[in-house]
């Protein structure tokens, strides 16, 4: 086996400091990494429109990731005794290549699959999609963004012809009279974002829909706005009820609807059945609050002379087996008020992962090619094939969305080899216990990571890769702005960049084309592949995005980018937004005898996603500190638990024990558990429901029926 020679990496840090962005969420707070006295790097916040110089504790402590004790710096291969042991890159590659060949010889190209991540740089997201389709020849690639942005993306594409999380700069929120957050908790998930809610709060116009009185819901207290606290899984109905109340109050922007929206009459008629009292009955939200919220929104709407209003959705509304319908209902409400495509108003979703936006645009999705192109569109295939230098017919067709893909692993006809890059599905997938079982049934599981995450520990081959501050590339933030992720230090010896790994594996597998390994070169190729597509990056480059704001679409060097979209027309064939009647469907795994409480899942401020990174930052607390169950005092009293005593939560799929946190923040019919779990021995996603949205493939993370009881003494604690 021969490989193109590559320079051995050396650990080197910039002497003067490096401007970059936070490794975690999609807010991508700007920071500067500066050499500290101890020779390490230290974080300083940078002024930037999104974070306005702010950082949360995760951001401040991000540099600790560079010094985690259990950093993987050598490939590891599972030996005959079942133990992971250090190996050479050559050994790891040989193991991978032979397993791929054996599996594909027996079962064809789709015997190998790829699971990517929304934290990968644009360059890596792009290259991973290309690697899967060109080097592995498999149709089977999907990614953890399916668990994140897929419902919002599907609904956005359907309504507007294009999905960009926020089709306007985040800072625009500050001028609005009202902001409606539907199932979003930025005060925990991206704290500096809430700076942009200050204006709406001052004017009493922050409205938060959440079954929990979250930290974000608490921002509505004391006259700053309204918290609507529905039963979980009833967001569609609540949004239809709000729409009804807007219509009943003659609050619709009829000129806008006539000029810019199609299909409106059917949507308006669908809301006629959801008057506030009936909505109250279905959602548990008092009718008076529904009317009050509608009045706030109408008064803020531009056609009523308000300063503007925004409707923003988050995972709480989207991570349902009918999340696409929920987002559609939120979009309909925004359309009724005449918000999308207007300066100072709009609809958007808050992207979760660091590159959740860019990660969904460049080919990690099972049905998409770079530039947000459809893989079934012949023209799109021809365009991308030309950039890749392959025959269009050689590009496989659509694969399977994440939950389906993970469920097929190791089953007859399913993949036997899986690559995981930038994801931790052993913790983060719904019904995670079943997913771990599937991962265990593979012939070969290859995981690229920089720490031994729960998924990496299950791998047959672990490939050590650089992390955030050790790599170069770009990220696309929640507002569609392309940002520069700059290398502030070299990765440790022994680590190889994914771009290099894929290039080398492609070469070993006899791929028809070479893969670029320089991020600048890859980005230029991505630009060409995306040119003319919906997410067009052709006019951007590394230098430009570091120098000036560049929001996609940006089709050429002279183009100034697109901070605000849809001002003249929507990206649909007709140029009008499409109002779609949402279905009203109940919770998939609903309350029943033996499971009479709803389980809600979510995040805490000091942890990020599965916790694979943040659980290793000492300042953010031990993983077990982030395992708790919020229980209403009446429920605690009923089942006989107190603050701190263990409670057992059991769903149809699994069981979980956590210390009780007694709080009135949850409804008495709900319990709340954070889903972080890496580094711990219990995973809340072992309980969650893998039922998926028929349009987006999003699983129903946010609600399922559980039994809640006092745990037997000492169990699991």
């Amino acid at each position: 086996m021969t490989l193109t020679d590559l320079d051995a990496p050396q650990r080197r840090t910039s002497a003067t400091g490096t401007d970059t962005h936070c490794p975690y969420c999609a807010l991508q707070c700007a920071m500067r990494l500066e050499p500290a006295d101890d020779g390490r790097l230290a974080v300083q916040p940078r002024d930037f429109p999104t974070n306005q110089g702010g950082l949360c504790q995760k951001g401040w402590t991000a540099a600790e990731l560079l010094a985690v004790r259990d950093r993987i710096t050598t490939p590891m291969v599972r030996d005959a005794g079942g133990e992971l042991r250090a190996a050479t890159w050559q050994e790891a590659y040989e193991r991978i290549v032979s397993a791929i060949r054996a599996a594909q010889r027996a079962d064809g190209p789709d015997a190998v699959a790829v699971f990517g991540g929304g934290g990968l740089t644009n360059e890596k997201a792009y290259s991973l999609g290309k690697f899967a389709r060109v080097a592995l020849g498999t149709a089977l690639i999907d990614y953890n963004g399916r668990f994140c942005m897929s419902s919002a993306a599907a609904a956005g594409n359907r309504a507007f012809g294009l999905d960009r999380g926020l089709p306007f700069p985040l800072a625009d929120l500050g001028g609005a009279d009202a902001v409606l957050l539907v199932g979003s908790n930025p005060a925990e998930t991206m704290p500096p974002m809430t700076r942009h809610l200050a204006g709406a709060r001052q004017r009493g116009g922050l409205i938060v829909i959440d079954p929990r009185h979250s930290a974000t819901a608490a921002l509505t207290d004391d006259g700053a706005g309204l918290h609507l606290q529905p039963l979980p899984g009833t967001d569609v109905v609540l949004l239809l009820g709000l729409l009804h109340a807007v219509i009943a109050a003659s609050g619709t922007d009829d000129d806008y609807l006539a000029a810019r929206v199609e299909g409106w009459d059917a949507v308006a008629a669908a809301s006629t059945c959801w008057w506030p009292e009936r909505t109250q009955q279905a959602t548990g939200v008092p009718a008076g609050q529904i009317r009050e919220a509608a009045e706030l929104l109408v008064a803020a709407a531009p056609h009523r002379g308000g300063a503007g209003a925004y409707v923003i959705s988050g995972r709480g509304a989207e991570q349902h087996a009918h999340g696409t319908d929920t987002v559609t209902a939120a979009i309909n409400l925004a359309l009724a008020l005449g918000l999308p495509g207007r300066v100072g108003s709009g609809y958007g979703c808050l992207t979760g992962q660091g590159n959740g936006q860019g990660g969904r645009e460049h080919g990690q999705k099972c049905d998409q090619l770079p530039g947000y192109r459809s893989i079934t569109d012949a023209q799109a295939r021809a365009h991308v094939a030309k950039v890749w230098g392959v025959d269009p017919d050689a590009i496989p067709g659509p694969g399977r969305p994440a939950v389906e893909l993970l469920d097929s692993l190791g089953r007859p006809g399913g993949p036997r080899v899986l690559f995981v890059h930038g994801a931790n599905p052993a913790v983060s997938a719904p019904d995670a216990g079943a997913v771990r079982e599937r991962l265990g049934s593979l012939d070969l599981l290859v995981v690229a990571d920089f720490v031994p995450s729960a998924t990496a520990r299950l791998a047959d081959v672990v490939l050590p890769v650089p992390q955030w501050a050790e790599e170069d590339g770009t990220m696309t933030s929640l507002e569609g702005r392309i940002l520069r992720r700059a290398r502030a230090t070299d990765p440790p010896d022994g680590v190889r960049d994914e771009l290099v790994i894929w290039a080398q594996l492609a070469e070993l597998l006899g791929a028809p084309v070479k893969f670029a390994t320089d991020p600048v070169e890859v980005f230029a190729e991505l630009g060409r592949a995306s040119a003319g597509g919906r997410a067009d990056y052709a006019g951007a480059d590394h230098e430009r995005v570091a120098r000036e704001p560049v929001y996609w679409p940006c089709p050429d060097r002279e183009h100034s980018g697109t901070p605000r979209m849809f001002l003249d027309r929507f990206a649909t064939p007709s140029g009008r937004a499409l109002a779609v009647v949402p279905s009203v469907v109940g919770v998939d795994d609903d309350l029943r005898e033996g499971a009479r409480t709803y389980l809600l899942t979510g995040r805490v401020l000091r942890q990020y996603q599965s916790g694979a990174q943040t659980a290793r930052v000492a300042a953010l607390g031990r993983p077990s500190e982030h395992r708790f169950a919020e229980v209403h005092p009446l429920t605690a009293h009923r089942i006989g638990v107190e603050d701190g005593t263990p409670v057992r939560i059991t769903s149809a799929r699994g069981s979980f024990v956590a210390p009780t946190r007694v709080t009135t923040a949850v409804r008495p019919d709900c319990v709340f558990v954070p889903f972080h779990g890496d580094g711990d021995d219990q995973f809340c996603n072992d309980l969650t429901n893998p039922a998926t949205d028929p349009v987006s493939g999003m699983p129903e993370f946010k609600v399922c029926a559980v039994d809640v009881s006092a745990a037997e003494h000492g169990a699991g604690t």
Partner: protein, 514 residues
């Protein structure tokens, strides 16, 4: 003369008589569920309008709903909808109905959804000024008639009567509700609850006359000017709105020889026992001896019949039935379930506050409840009733859901007394900075928010705690004024108000440095 020729010749022909809320729901469901071409649906509606939400007419009266916003989802091709079409007869032998224009519509299944009409409990008279509220046209008339100061008598203190009374009062009319029993909403409320409701109405300036039987109208110049009671009194009025319940429209069924009692008799399959080709749903139907006149059961019937006709399995929805919610400004009345079972009942009656809550619990479930004047609690009780969630150990707690809640989930600090909050209370959530650390920063010489931020990172996340940090610094200045001679990192000499904070200062004089 033949009717519609639409649809496949093999399609099962369904003719729906009536196009109200239940018929509209039935057609919508059937259209969604049936295989393409499997059914050919014709809807014959007597009103000239698209189907609309009748329940919201009282909201229009109250000025809370736009009359143009009541339209229900319209049936689309290939369903044939004929508005302004009254059916005059059914020929069951020929399986056909004839409309007023003489057009004959053949059916394989006939669905009667003829609804009900308002009952007017008065002798027939030609006097102007006696009205009902059933149709959109009635609603327009009533809105036009409800001028400020006009004396309007609502005859009947049931759900709709009270909604109407409140709506008309909101328009400035001088409204009196006259009810023939001593108990308002007597289908839903007991005497105690009804008393609180009557008081609430009176508090809104609405007259309430109970246990008064009206036997006739009194006229002047061809218009009504009063109502004569059984006791011989005359109640002066300018307008009477009869709201004394509804009577199922059963004439067509009667004439066709179908069994009719209170409504058109149907079995559990919603078909007439005499003729399985004829079904009845909604207000005109009496299913297995039961008739409610409520929308939810009608919609449930529509759903079941649509499933059956589409060849889909028919399952009961399992949803708890019988939540009744009054829609009126400034008045909240919600009832659910049937009280008086074997359960345990807890009651809170607070007439002074216009509040009355009664909850019956059996086998750790809410089986019935009445909730007046407690809107947020009503929403919670409805959720508990419908979802059958476990009740608290002590059901009394069900009455106190509206207790003020201190969740601790919020920014907290700026709303709390800074002096007395404990040292370990979090001031800056984003960076996990406690009061203790900020006090420590002050002790170490930090005198402004920037300095505290540089040391502790407080305020550097969402920025929401800036005012709390400022407040803490001001408080420290007060209790521990700076001394020029004291070194910057010394602990304060005087004792701050909170002992906890002081103890902290000694222990961690400079905690929180990044």
């Amino acid at each position: 003369m033949s009717g519609d020729m639409s649809g496949d010749s093999n399609a099962h022909r369904v003719v729906v008589v009536g196009h109200g809320m239940v018929a509209a729901r039935f057609v919508e469901e059937l259209q969604t569920l049936a295989a393409p071409g499997a059914v050919a649906v014709t809807v014959l509606g007597a009103e000239p309008h698209l189907p609309y939400n009748r329940l919201l007419l009282s909201e229009v009266i109250a000025g809370r709903a736009n009359i143009n916003a009541l339209t229900l989802p319209a049936a689309s091709e290939p369903v044939v909808v004929r508005a302004d079409t009254t059916v005059v007869s059914i020929d069951r032998a020929a399986k056909a109905v004839t409309d007023a224009d003489g057009v004959v519509h053949d059916y394989d299944t006939l669905v009667l959804a003829t609804g009900a009409e308002p009952r007017v409990p008065l002798p027939t008279s030609d006097l102007r000024g006696v009205r009902t509220l059933r149709t959109i046209d009635d609603c327009r008339d009533l809105v036009a008639a409800a001028r400020p100061g006009r004396r309007i008598t609502v005859l009947g203190g049931g759900l709709l009567g009270i909604e109407l009374a409140c709506g008309l009062a909101h328009r400035g009319a001088d409204v009196t509700v006259v009810h023939r029993t001593p108990t308002l909403m007597d289908r839903q409320l007991d005497a105690a609850a009804a008393r609180v409701l009557a008081d609430s109405l009176r508090a809104q300036g609405i007259g309430v006359l109970l246990d008064v039987e009206v036997i006739d109208v009194v006229g002047h110049d061809g218009a009504v000017c009063g109502l004569r009671t059984a006791a011989g009194a005359v109640l002066p009025t300018d307008l009477v709105v009869a709201s004394a319940g509804v009577v199922p429209r059963t004439e067509l069924a009667c004439a066709a020889g179908l069994p009719v009692e209170h409504g058109i008799v149907v079995g559990a399959n919603l078909r007439s026992p005499e003729d399985p080709a004829v079904a009845a749903i909604g207000d005109c139907a009496q299913e297995e001896g039961r008739w409610t006149g409520l929308l939810a059961p009608g919609w449930e019937q529509a759903r079941r019949l649509a499933h059956e006709l589409a060849g889909r399995p028919v399952r009961a929805s399992g949803s708890a039935d019988g939540v009744v919610t009054l829609k009126a400004r400034g008045l909240s009345v919600v009832t659910m379930g049937t009280a008086g079972g074997a359960g345990r009942t807890v009651t809170l009656s607070d007439a002074g506050a216009g509040r009355h809550v009664s909850v019956e619990v059996a086998a750790d479930r809410v089986v019935a409840a009445t909730c007046i004047g407690a809107p947020d609690l009503a929403a919670d009780l409805t959720a508990a009733f419908e979802r059958r969630t476990p009740t608290p150990k002590d059901p009394t707690h069900l009455l106190f859901a509206e207790l003020p809640t201190g969740t601790g989930a919020g920014q907290g600090a700026d709303r709390t007394n800074l002096a007395t909050m404990p040292g370990n209370a979090t001031v800056c959530r984003c960076n996990g900075v406690t009061k203790r650390e900020i006090v420590g920063a002050h002790a170490a010489g930090d005198r402004d928010v920037e300095a505290v931020a540089a040391r502790t990172r407080a305020t550097t996340g969402c920025g929401g705690c800036a005012s709390a940090v400022e407040g803490l610094l001001a408080w420290m200045e007060e209790v521990d004024p700076p001394s020029d001679t004291r070194p910057a990192n010394a602990t304060p000499l005087s004792t701050p108000v909170a002992a906890d904070a002081h103890a902290t200062l000694g222990a961690h004089p400079s905690q929180g440095s990044p």
